[in-house]
Symmetry: D3
Subunit: 238 residues, 6 copies
C-alpha cells in the first residue's frame, strides 16, 4: 500500500470537508462524503487516520440469539476481535447496511478503542449510549442513536475487507478525515496529492472569505480573478 | 393487570436504555426501543411510568376541517378528552402512523399534562412548538418538529387501546422508560423481573467500564470472566 | 403584486409557526410549513421576508463537471447570478428536489448574502459548512449538512420562477416567516390578513397559556369560553 | 348510518376511479384513492361494497409467537373472527400500517370470504399466496406479495373501528369501489350524490373520448364547450 | 440545436437500453436511465424521439382547487397548452417531482397525443386510467397508477424548460429512447455518435449471445477476444 | 456442511413459500422470505438449490470506470469469475445493498448460467434486459429492472461469503426455494427437517382448502379440529 506520511495526515486535518470533497471532485470522484452520518457531539474536532473496516450482515436466530456468544473468540465474536485488532491511528468504519434498528456498538467498545489510541469510529447504522459517547473526547459518527443490542439485527462477519459505508466504497487503508460537519473518504493512493492541493485551497479560501466579509461581490472574488489572486499572494507572503 | 410497585419504577429509572433492551433481548424481545424518536431537549432526564395510549387515523375533510370542533367534547374531540383523562404518573403514547406532516400536539397540551403530573409524552409523528417544549422540564419525544395543525393530517379516534408506536406494540399499562437516548417499552407482566436484572447489569457494567477506562482489554472484562466477576463482587460489597 | 407593508412583516415576525399554520388552515391551506427542514442553529431568531426563488435540476457530466464554470456569468453560473441578484429583505428559497447528496451552497455564498442584507436562506437539500453557518447570525435551513460540492448532483437552472420546496409551492414574492421551529410560506395575497389574525391569536394564546400554567383544564380555557374570553379582554386592556 | 341503495352501488360500479376521484375532489376531498395498492390480478373487474374494517398492530413475542393461537376464539384470534363476521356485500379493509414484511392473509381466508359473498379484500400491507389469489375471481389488493406468516409482524387488534388504509381514513360503512386501476373510498354520507354525478360524468367523457379519438383538439372538447355539450345531449338522447 | 437525422433515430430504435446506457457510460455518463419508471404495457415496442418537457410544482389551494380552470387558456392551464403544442415525433417528459399521489395525466390527454403523432409520454409520477392506457398502442411510462386528479397535488408551471425526471436531467431536444425495459435519455449533441456505436455493439452482442447460448464460457466470448471477434466479422459479412 | 439429499430438495420443491415460512416461524425464524423481490416472469416454476453468494460494494471512479476491465481475470473481474465458478444445482444470490440504480447482471450472464445448469439467480438490486430474461426458462428475481451498467454503482468484491440479501442473512450452502410468489432462504442445517414438516403441511392444507371451498367455516377447519383431522387422514390414505 502507498505510504502515508504524518505530514499528509497533518495537512488533511487542517482542511474542511467542503475543501476535500471539492479536490476529490476535481479528480473525478463524485461522492466521497458519508451522507447522512452525524457526529454524536457538536464539539467533534478534526481528525485523520486510516480505515480499519468491519462488515455486518443481518443476524439470524440460530447464529446470534445467544448473548453468551460474547465470551467466545474468533469468528464467533468478530466485533470483539476487531476492537482488539484495530491499532492506534486507525479509524473504525462499519458497514451496517444503513440499518439503524440495532446498535453497531456502545460506550464500552468506544471507551476501549479510545484508550487504545483509535482515532474515530464510524457506522452507517446507529450507536447506543449516544449521550455518553457524545461526552467522550472521541469522534463517533452514526445515522442515529438506537439502544437495541447489536445481535437483534446485526452480525459482524468480516474485518479488513473492502466495504460500503453510507453508499461510499471504503477500502482498508483509505484515509478518513472528519470534523463536526461529517466524514470524507480519501482513496489512499491520492491522499498525499489531495492533501497538498486541499491545504492550498483551504488557505486561499480563508483569505477570500475575509474579502466577502468585507463586502466584496462574488464576481472577481470567488473564484478569484487575477487581481484578487495577486492580493492573496501578497497576503500569504506577508 | 399486574401490579407495578414504586420500587420497580425506581429501579427502572436507574437503568439506561441499552441495559433495558439487552434484558428484553435475553427474554426473547427483539425490538422494544422506539427507533427514530428523539427528545426535544438533550437535558431530558430519566423517567418511568405506565403507558396511556392515544390513536390517530388520517383526518378527512368532512370530519376534521372545522377548527371549531376543538370546543366539542366526547368523540368529536378525543385528544382533549385524553389529555384530561390521563393521570399523574402515566406516559402519553400516541400512534401517529409515523406521519410527521402535522403536529400530534403543541405546547398548550404539553403544559396541561406537565401540570397534572403526567410523566412524559411520546409520538411517532411530530410536535409543534418544539423549541418551547424543549425548554420545559417535561420529557417529550417525536420524530420531528412540524408546526402544521393536527387536523391537517390527523384525527384522534381512540384512547387506551393497544397501538403501535414507531413499529413497537404498546398496550395500555405497559411500562415506558426513557432518557436522553430515547424510549423503551417494557411489557407490564415482566417489568418487575426486568427491573431486578437490569439494575444488577447496570451496576456491574458501571464497574466494568472503570476497568476498560483503566486500560483493560475486552477479553476477560466485558463480558466479565470469573476473576473480574470476583473483583466486581468485592467492589460491590465494599 | 400585492404590496406588503413593513407593518405586516413586523406582525408576522411576532408570531410562531404554529399560529401561522393555524391561520392558514382556517383559510383552507393544509400544508404551508416546510416539513423536514431545520435551522443550522438553535439560536435562530424570527424573521420575515419575501421569497426569491432558485431552481436546481440534476447535474450532468457534459454540463457541470468543469469547476472552472464558476467564473462564467449568465446562464452558465446561475447560482452566482442569483446570489448577486437577490435584494436586501428577501429570502432565498432553493428547490433542490429534496436531494441531500450534494450541497446547495456553503459559507461563502451565505456570507455574501448576509452582507447584502438578505434575510435568510432555505433549501430542501443540504448546506455544506453547516457548523460555520450555524455560528453566523443568519438563518439558514436545510434537510441535512453535506460537504459534497453542488455540481456533483445539482445545476442551477432558473431563478424567480414558481418552485416547490419541501413539497410546498413557493411563488416569487410569497412571504416567508421562520424561527427556531422552522419555516412557513404565506401566499402574498393574504399575508396582511393572516398577519392581523395571527397576531391576535398569538396574544390570546399567550394569555391562555398563563391560565394552563396556573392549572386550568383545557375545557373552557383552550379554546376559551365566554368567561375566559372576557378575562382575556380585561388582561389585554390592562 | 345513511342507507345505501342497490341502485347507488350499481351506478358506482359503472364508473372508473378517475371519475370518482374527480367527483370527490369537486366536493373538497383531496385524496380518497388508495395510492400504492394493486390488484393481484389484472383481470380484476369493477366492484362496490361497504367497508368492514380490521386493524393490525405490531406483533409481540409474548402475544403472537405461538401459532397454536389460531385455534383460539375471541380477542385471541380476531382475524378469524373478522373473516367469519364480515357479511356478503361487504369489503374487508385492513390497516396493516403499510408494513409488507408479513402477510395480512393468504388464500385460505380469501377463499372463505369469497365463498361467503364478500365483495373484495384490501390491505395496505401484503398478501401471501399472491399467485393463487390472482387466479381467483375475487378482487384482492395489496402493496406487495410476501409469504411470511402474519404473526411475524402483525396482530389483529380491532374490527369495525375507523382506521387508516394507505393514509386514507376508512370508517366502517364507507363505500369502497375498485377495478383494475385501484380502489377509491367514498364517505358513506355522500355516496348516493357522488354516484349520480359520477355516472353522468362517466357517460359524458365516454362521448368526449370518441371526439378526441376522432382528432378533435382538447380546447372546446375536453372540457366540452356549449357546442360539444349540445352534441353530447343529442348523442345521449339518440 | 444539433440536427438529428431520421437515420440516427432509426439506429437508436434498433438498440436495447442496456446497450445505450453502456455507450453512455463509456462517454462518462453514469446514469441516464429513468430508474423506477415502467411502461403501462408489457407490449411496449421500441421508440425514439426528441424530448418536449413539462414541469409540475406542488398545487396550492388558491391556485388549483377550481376544476373550472381546465377551460382557461394560457398559463392558467399549461398542461392543456403543452398537449396541443407538442409535435409529432416528440416525446412528452414530465417532471412530477416523483410524486405519485395524483395523476400527471389520463387517457383523454394520452389519446389526444397519440392522435397527433406524439411518440411517447413519460412522467416520474403517476398516470390515471392506467389499464386503458396500457391497451393503447402508445408507450406511456410512470412510477405508478393513481386515479386522483392532477390538481390535488400538481400544477403545470413551465414547458420546454430543462427539468429533472427520475433524477436525470432532461433538456428540451434530448433524444429519448425506450422499450419494454424502460427509458434512456441521450444528450442531443452526442446522439448520432452514440447511435453508431450502440448499433455496432447491439449487433456484436447478438452474435456473442448465440455463442453463449451454444455453451461458450464468458472468457474469450464476452467480451470477445481476437478469435471471437474474427468469427463475428465473418458472421457479419456473411 | 450438512449433507442435502435430492429427496430433501424434491420435497421442498413441492411446497409453497407460505408453507415454508410458517415452518421456519415455528422454529423461531421470523423473516426468511426475500421481501420486495419479484420474478422477471409470472410463469416462474418452483425450484430449490443451494446458495452461491456474490457480494457487491459501491463502485468507485478509480476502480470501476474502465469497462475494459471486463477482460481481466481474478479479483479485477470477480463477477465473471463467479458466473464461471458457480455449479449446476446452485442458486446465485447477490448482495447488491438493495441498490437498483444499476443492473446486477443482464441476459448474457443469465444465459451462461442457465446453460451451465444453475438453478436460479437472485439480486436485491436490479437486472437489465428484464424483458428478455423474463422470457427465458430461468428463474430470476430482483427488486427492479434497470438498464444502467453494473460498474456505474456496483463492484463485485467477494464470493462464497456470508451476505445479506433483502435484509435476510444468506450463508453459502443455505437452501434457496422459490416460485412465482418469491424466494425463501432455509438454513442448511434444518433444511431436511423443514422439508418433512412442510410437505406434510402442504398436503394437509390442500385438503383443508377443499373444505373451505366447499363452504366450511374457518373454525374447526383451519386449523383443523379432531374431526377434520380424522377426515384428512382418511383422505390421505384413500
Amino acid at each position: 500500500m502507498t505510504e502515508i506520511t504524518p505530514e499528509t495526515l497533518e495537512k488533511l486535518k487542517r482542511c474542511g470537508q467542503g475543501t476535500l470533497t471539492t479536490q476529490l471532485f476535481r479528480r473525478g470522484y463524485r461522492q466521497q462524503f458519508l451522507v447522512g452520518l452525524s457526529p454524536m457531539s457538536k464539539e467533534t474536532g478534526r481528525f485523520a487516520g486510516e480505515a480499519f473496516t468491519l462488515r455486518f450482515i443481518p443476524s439470524r436466530e440460530d447464529k446470534d440469539w445467544d448473548l453468551g456468544d460474547l465470551k467466545k473468540r474468533g469468528e464467533e465474536n468478530l466485533q470483539w476481535e476487531a476492537v482488539e485488532a484495530i491499532a492506534a491511528g486507525q479509524v473504525l468504519v462499519i458497514d451496517s447496511r444503513g440499518d439503524t434498528r440495532a446498535a453497531s456498538a456502545g460506550n464500552m467498545l468506544m471507551t476501549r478503542m479510545m484508550k487504545k489510541g483509535v482515532v474515530a469510529a464510524i457506522t452507517d447504522g446507529a450507536w447506543r449510549d449516544g449521550t455518553e459517547i457524545g461526552e467522550m473526547p472521541f469522534p463517533a459518527y452514526a445515522r442515529a442513536n438506537t439502544a437495541s443490542t447489536r445481535p437483534a439485527y446485526h452480525r459482524a462477519i468480516g474485518m479488513q475487507e473492502p466495504i460500503g459505508c453510507a453508499e461510499v466504497a471504503v477500502y482498508p487503508g483509505d484515509i478518513i478525515v472528519g470534523d463536526a460537519d461529517g466524514v470524507t473518504v480519501i482513496p489512499r493512493a491520492i491522499a498525499a496529492d489531495v492533501a497538498d492541493d486541499a491545504l492550498e485551497q483551504e488557505q486561499r479560501e480563508a483569505f477570500l472569505l475575509t474579502k466577502i466579509e468585507g463586502g466584496a461581490p462574488l464576481w472577481g472574488t470567488y473564484p478569484a480573478d487575477a487581481a484578487t489572486l495577486a492580493e492573496y499572494e501578497d497576503w500569504k507572503s506577508a
